[in-house]
């Protein structure tokens, strides 16, 4: 599969998912189990992505400047900092640690 095919397939699937919500009658999905699974699916995927983005380099697990950066982000989230502040702070921490040679 080429990168272009992959991008188009993934994009079309995502657009289709957005459309599905407008097509199905609300009462079909009022059952608690599918709603609960949809909620938890988002939680599991985001948590897994946090882990992989923080620790993964290809197939290796590496502890580097991303770990303190994400810890700072978590601290700011505890303090209810806005999204953009959290993200910029994490980038800044990682960039500075690498600049000063304190972390890879």
């Amino acid at each position: 599969m080429t990168m272009w095919t992959a991008i188009l397939v993934a994009s079309i699937v995502c657009v289709a998912l957005k459309t599905v919500g407008y097509l199905i009658p609300a009462k079909w999905v009022e059952a608690p189990t599918p709603l609960r699974i949809a909620d938890l699916l988002t939680v599991a995927l985001l948590a897994a992505l946090v882990a992989v983005q923080t620790l993964g380099v290809g197939q290796a697990i590496v502890v580097d400047a991303r770990v303190p950066a994400v810890l700072v982000a978590a601290g700011l989230l505890l303090l209810r900092a806005p999204f953009l502040v959290v993200v910029i702070a994490a980038a800044l921490v990682a960039a500075l640690l690498r600049l000063w040679g304190w972390a890879a």
């Binding site: 407008y22 999905v29 197939q59 290796a60």
Partner: protein, 253 residues
């Protein structure tokens, strides 16, 4: 029931203005983050056009970052896992569509356009308004505002990423991790999602060295299906539970 119709008019005009103001504010903050998506996508090996098509067509930030992150780690071989991850992360938009459907109203083109603008922020801003008019207005202003801003900043980031070189020097890899964490954070208000989140993170980390990039994330998603199906650690009544889904006012589309 207001007796004075002038008060009612002024009141609804105020609500409409508030919806527009909130929508534009959220759009501005979210769009700024598109720069890092553009730069990371180019760093992951996509060209500028491919990066822009993701923002123009896919237009749902979590899925876009997941796709780019997995392709960046695993290259073309990881493409099926990248597609699956972005699709699974897009499942929450189904819930948003169901919530927004009555707000948008009838008309084929209207609903077709609304579907593409159905993302975390537009849903959240809309549902935060009280009057039906303000809800509709909030949805369109936020959705269209972010669509324009996010695509412009994606293009800027992609062009910038071409000249930046190593995005790690700017901490953009850490920014992506922090962004996922910020999207996850408001969803961790009950025991069940916290347990699922921790378990999924552990599963993904443990499987990373033994599986192709992308697959650990998908297998971690199985945790959610098992726990969700059995409702392990869940409360019986949904009265004190979270709303159907947490649409974020801030974050990425």
């Amino acid at each position: 029931m207001t007796l004075d119709p002038r008060f009612d008019d002024a009141h609804s005009a105020g609500e409409a203005r508030r919806a527009v103001r909130e929508g534009l504010g959220v759009a501005l903050a979210t769009s700024a983050y598109g720069v890092s998506f553009g730069a990371l996508a180019v760093a992951a090996g996509l060209d500028v056009w491919q990066t822009c098509v993701l923002s123009l067509v896919m237009f749902t930030g979590g899925s876009q970052f997941a796709f780019v992150g997995i392709v960046g780690a695993g290259g073309l071989a990881a493409v099926p896992a990248a597609i699956a991850s972005s699709a699974l992360l897009g499942v929450r938009n189904v819930a948003y569509g169901i919530r927004m459907s009555p707000v948008i109203g009838a008309g084929f083109w209207r609903r077709a356009a609304a579907a593409q603008f159905t993302i975390d922020e537009s849903t959240a801003v809309s549902l935060a308004q009280r009057s039906p008019h303000a809800r509709t207005l909030g949805f369109w202003v936020t959705g269209i505002g972010i669509y324009v801003g996010w695509n412009l900043s994606t293009l800027a980031g992609a062009l910038l990423g071409d000249v930046l070189g190593d995005v790690r020097a700017y901490g953009l890899d850490a920014a992506a991790a922090a962004a996922f964490l910020a999207l996850l954070w408001p969803r961790l208000r009950a025991r069940q999602p916290i347990v699922v989140g921790v378990a999924a993170a552990v599963v993904a980390t443990v499987l990373t060295p033994v599986l192709m990039p992308g697959l650990p994330v998908i297998i971690a998603a199985l945790v959610a299906i098992v726990v969700g199906w059995t409702n392990w650690l869940g409360s019986d009544d949904r009265a004190d539970a979270e709303p159907d889904d947490v649409a974020e006012r801030e974050g990425m589309p």
